[in-house]
């Protein structure tokens, strides 16, 4: 347990002391939150487009922010792998599960506080724009967002394990773009329908946003919340197992 705690602390400090992590994980999502809120104010009510209204946007941006935590997870893992740092650590009594838990845990904590800040900013915007935002729903949503955080972090762990520090961020940027569009953060696929909605529904990102949005609105119906959250939890579990297995296999290959 002390090994995992020590490794988690190191990873947390490494990320929190990198100024770029604040720009990407915090400043950028907050800027997007403000820009989209300004954009929402310009959309005529007759258009009936609510995707950028703060009660929908807040949880979407929270999910969007999690994709940048994925980016920094992949960077940390790939950097450790490309240098001698992991070689040193492999010679200690740490096991592969200690490494994977040690990488994932601090990222979950970072993601949680990132979402807290995004929700505080959203609440302020909701007061300015005079839109009702349920505080209880937001607090509950912070917990509901954890499976999607784990899913994105495991994506980061997977890419960081499989690719070097030049390729891994590139692959993460694909996931960031996919989650932005196909996760329905920046457009309303439910209103669009057709093939686009089918594509969105075939990927887990859509369900991350849908379950968090439903939770903020305290809508716990099967279609809006239960089915989406089950899909997100299942995706997180699959990616968690896959990334741990890949890390263990790579570690074994490194030590062969």
């Amino acid at each position: 347990m002390n090994k995992i705690k020590a490794f988690s602390t190191r990873n947390r400090k490494e990320i929190l002391r990198d100024p770029l992590s604040y720009i990407f994980c915090l400043a950028f999502p907050l800027v997007m939150l403000i820009i989209m809120s300004v954009l929402n104010a310009s959309i005529p009510k007759q258009a009936n487009m609510t995707v950028f209204r703060i009660d929908n946007l807040s949880s979407g941006i929270a999910v969007f922010g999690q994709t940048f935590v994925m980016l920094f997870t992949s960077l940390t893992v790939s950097k450790d792998r490309s240098g001698s740092f992991l070689v040193r650590m492999y010679a200690t009594p740490m096991k592969s599960s200690d490494f994977t838990i040690g990488y994932i845990t601090p990222m979950i904590i970072i993601s949680f506080f990132q979402n807290v800040i995004i929700y505080i900013a959203s609440f302020i915007i909701s007061i300015i724009t005079d839109v009702d935002l349920n505080i209880g729903g937001m607090i509950l949503s912070l917990i509901i967002l954890m499976p999607s955080a784990i899913m994105f972090i495991c994506f980061g762990l997977l890419f960081g394990t499989l690719f070097n520090e030049k390729s891994a961020p590139g692959l993460c940027s694909i996931i960031i773009s996919l989650s932005g569009f196909l996760g329905c953060i920046f457009f309303d696929a439910d209103s669009t329908g057709g093939a686009m909605l089918k594509v969105c529904k075939s990927l887990p990102f859509y369900y991350c946003t849908k379950s968090a949005r439903a939770c903020v609105k305290l809508d716990f119906s099967a279609g809006a919340f239960i089915i989406p959250i089950v899909i997100v939890i299942a995706s997180a579990a699959v990616l968690g197992c896959l990334s741990s297995f890949v890390f263990k296999s790579k570690m074994k290959a490194d030590l062969s």
Binding site: N2, K3, K5, A6, F7, T9, R10, K13, E14, R17, D18, G83, S84, F85, V87, R88, Y90, A91, T92, P93, M94, D254, L255, S256
Partner: protein, 245 residues
Amino acid sequence: MNAIETKNLTKKYKNKTAVDSINLTVGEGELFSLLGVNGAGKTTTIRMLSGLSTPTDGEAFINGKSCKTKIDEIKNIIGISPQDTAVADNLTVRENLDFMASIYYADKETINEKIEKITSIFNLSEVEDQKAKTLSGGWKRKLSIAMALISEPKVLFLDEPTLGLDVLARRELWRAIEALKGKMTIILTTHYMEEAEHLSDRIAIMISGKIKACGTVADLEELSGKKGLEEAFVAIAERGMSENE
């Protein structure tokens, strides 16, 4: 009991034999150097002895424990300072030491005690609050070795510890390594003759994965019929390479 013993230790990568059936014994408290040119198999040997690479053939024992079957136990009694300085860049010197100590010890008091001890041995107090990425090459290397020593290992592996350092930083690091002599078994790889001569109790000369000669500087001089380690090394290496051809 020998601290290290290898029996026909071999490592092959596809068509290349990196380490070719080496037999070594290193006594407890000895500082043993593996001397050789680049690609001689020094790092691969250290990797196998520290559990970072699985031998293709043969066996290695650390303190009587097999590297094949007891590697988890071995990892508790060894320390390694890899060729590149493996430190956490955004952590301070003290935090790096704290991090490594926390891998081995749970008690905060013990951890602080170990940090104080190692900080004093390596004179790290003046840079202890500095982030590792801001340190000079010499200080980074000292930190890397200090991190390997924080668990008070019985066997310490130093892979080219002074590579790329200027002469003053190298001499300072030599003094630090000399201070450890006798307290633990140290395996050092280097291609600097003066380093091996200055620090080692015994030296093994590796050429193309094989140990061509092993002994004290005097033994090697006698074997080669040359005066000085550099001359002895060149003679043994040339003879070894012509034998391989």
